[in-house]
């Protein structure tokens, strides 16, 4: 005689199916050195954003110093202009000016936008090597003081100066912020016939606006 499937049995089956889905995937090669680098420096940078013992000026300077040490601003500055990098390769002075302008814009953006992340707890949960010992994606969970924890991935490259972050991906699906930035700049450069000086003028204006907002807040 066939026994009817009770609601509880059916539910147990569904939950069991779900439990199977939690089985971990195989892990690729990890890099503990890169993981330690991110764990230490990401925590410090986020702490600097909300250091209550520092004046706004000191906080800004501390954050800038940490960011220029933690992130490879020069490399990122070249990356975000994508196919328009040619003029920067040819013109050293222009490249230098662009890197300064982009760095100021990027740091102001971080300060302005990530204020609510100050004091967030970073917990590195793994990593995967793209190039052994040189190019690694470090996976972490970042828990802000308010709000839900979120997944943050850090692309770190190792050069003579040690590890540096070159891009960050946020969210469960991993949205790379550097790629979004590159698309924005490329759209702007496409529309102005590749005029990097015009882009710099725009970024300086936006940086000034953000700095004024940050100072007004503090």
């Amino acid at each position: 005689m066939t026994r009817p499937v009770t609601r509880a049995t059916f539910l147990s089956g569904l939950i069991g199916l779900g439990a199977l889905a939690t089985a971990p995937d195989a892990h690729a090669a990890r890099n503990s050195d890169a993981e330690t680098y991110v764990q230490t420096n990401a925590t410090a940078a986020l702490a600097a954003l909300g250091n209550p013992n520092a004046s706004s000026t000191q906080r800004q300077q501390q954050f800038q110093r940490l960011m220029t040490q933690f992130a490879d601003m020069q490399r990122i500055a070249i990356y975000v202009v994508g196919r328009y990098r040619g003029s920067l390769v040819e013109d050293t002075a222009l490249r230098r000016e662009w890197q300064e302008t982009f760095q100021a814009f990027a740091i102001a953006t971080y300060e302005d936008q990530f204020e609510n992340m100050s004091g967030a707890a970073v917990r590195v949960v793994g990593s995967e090597e793209r190039t052994a010992g040189r190019d690694v994606v470090v996976d972490s969970q970042v828990r802000p003081p308010r709000g839900e924890p979120m997944r943050v991935q850090w692309r770190v490259l190792r050069s003579d100066n040690g590890w540096k972050v070159t891009d960050i991906a946020v969210g469960r699906d991993g949205v790379w912020l550097g790629q979004i930035q590159q698309r924005q700049f490329l759209a702007q450069l496409d529309s102005n016939r590749g005029d990097i000086r015009a882009l710099m003028t725009d970024l300086r204006g936006r940086t000034t606006t953000m700095r004024q907002r940050i100072m007004a807040r503090s």
């Binding site: 569904l14 889905a21 300077q61 020069q74 949205v175 698309r183 924005q184 759209a187 016939r193 300086r204």
Partner: protein, 294 residues
């Protein structure tokens, strides 16, 4: 605004460089990027959307945020997300994602029962992380290119493929076929509440976009394209598909907090940090890009 934060996604057509000096570069993700042949038309629709959003959607969303506690809003979002489970499950299956399909079924069973009709989300704390799927993503997995970018007022950014996918998702939704008293009212109410809840969830993100300045239309499009690509890949990007970075060797630039803006514009601080060394040596290691293609 679906998918804007889920945001944050890449199209099929390779946009040709518009100036002669433009060159392919390592890590130029734009190689697979913006397919926006209807940009002029889309910008018009975007303006309409911004007007409606500013007049209606945003105020309603902010009112919803002010009038309700976070826990209540989380419950509403959980409930609405749970209702989408059949659609997510169908797309998990169509993509051959067995584990994720199992997770969706398990989450639905747990959250519908222990989670009181989906208002709470005990499944996440039991290790069943939530995820989204839709038929646009399924089509992408099947190799269908994104097609042109489209901005739809009230609904936000999408593409021809993803917009068509949303229509199929409606057909996959059991609630579409539900037949009971006031079924139409329930369906309409779900749509309205979903819209308000999704706009509320995007308040901070959109505020952030607006605060950065620049061309907001491009910001939305860029964020949508990159985030959509990430969603299609379910967060499982092959690290080998990530873009290359130029191999450069140069010291950090001197700190310039305002990027060279006028000193009057902001109050410059006297003791700026000086990084040593300004020598620049860009090693021209222009390798072929490893950019991912849609």
């Amino acid at each position: 605004m679906r998918g804007l934060v889920s945001i944050m996604v890449l199209a099929a057509c390779l946009a040709a460089p518009t100036i002669a000096s433009a060159q392919e570069a390592p890590g130029d993700v734009s190689a697979a990027a913006s397919s926006d042949p209807w940009e002029g038309f889309n910008r018009g629709l975007f303006s309409v959307h911004q007007a409606v959003d500013g007049a209606v959607l945003e105020p309603v969303a902010r009112g919803y945020r002010v009038a309700t506690p976070r826990l209540f809003r989380a419950g509403v979002s959980n409930f609405l997300r749970n209702l989408k489970s059949p659609v997510i499950f169908a797309n998990d299956v169509l993509q051959g994602e067995v584990n994720r399909a199992g997770a969706t079924v398990g989450r639905f069973a747990i959250n519908t029962t222990l989670g009181v009709a989906g208002i709470f989300d005990p499944a996440t704390s039991m290790g069943l992380e939530r995820h989204d799927e839709d038929f646009g993503q399924t089509l992408a997995v099947w190799g269908v290119p994104s097609g042109p970018y489209i901005f739809v007022p009230l609904f936000g950014p999408t593409t021809l493929r993803d917009g068509a996918g949303q229509i199929v998702d409606v057909a996959l939704d059991p609630l579409t076929y539900a037949d009971f008293d006031d079924a139409d009212t329930v369906r309409a109410a779900r749509g309205i509440i979903s819209g308000i809840a999704q706009r509320e969830a995007l308040i901070d993100q959109i505020d952030s976009f607006e605060a950065q300045g620049g061309d907001l239309y491009v910001t939305y499009r860029s964020a949508y394209e990159v985030s959509r690509e990430a969603a299609i890949q379910n967060g499982r990007v092959d690290v080998q598909d990530l873009p290359d970075f130029d191999d450069i060797d140069e010291a950090p630039v001197t700190n310039t907090p305002n990027g060279g803006a006028s000193a009057e514009a902001i109050q410059q601080q006297p003791d700026q940090i000086q990084e040593a060394g300004n020598s620049v040596a860009l090693k021209e290691a222009i390798a072929l890009p490893k950019s991912k293609q849609d």
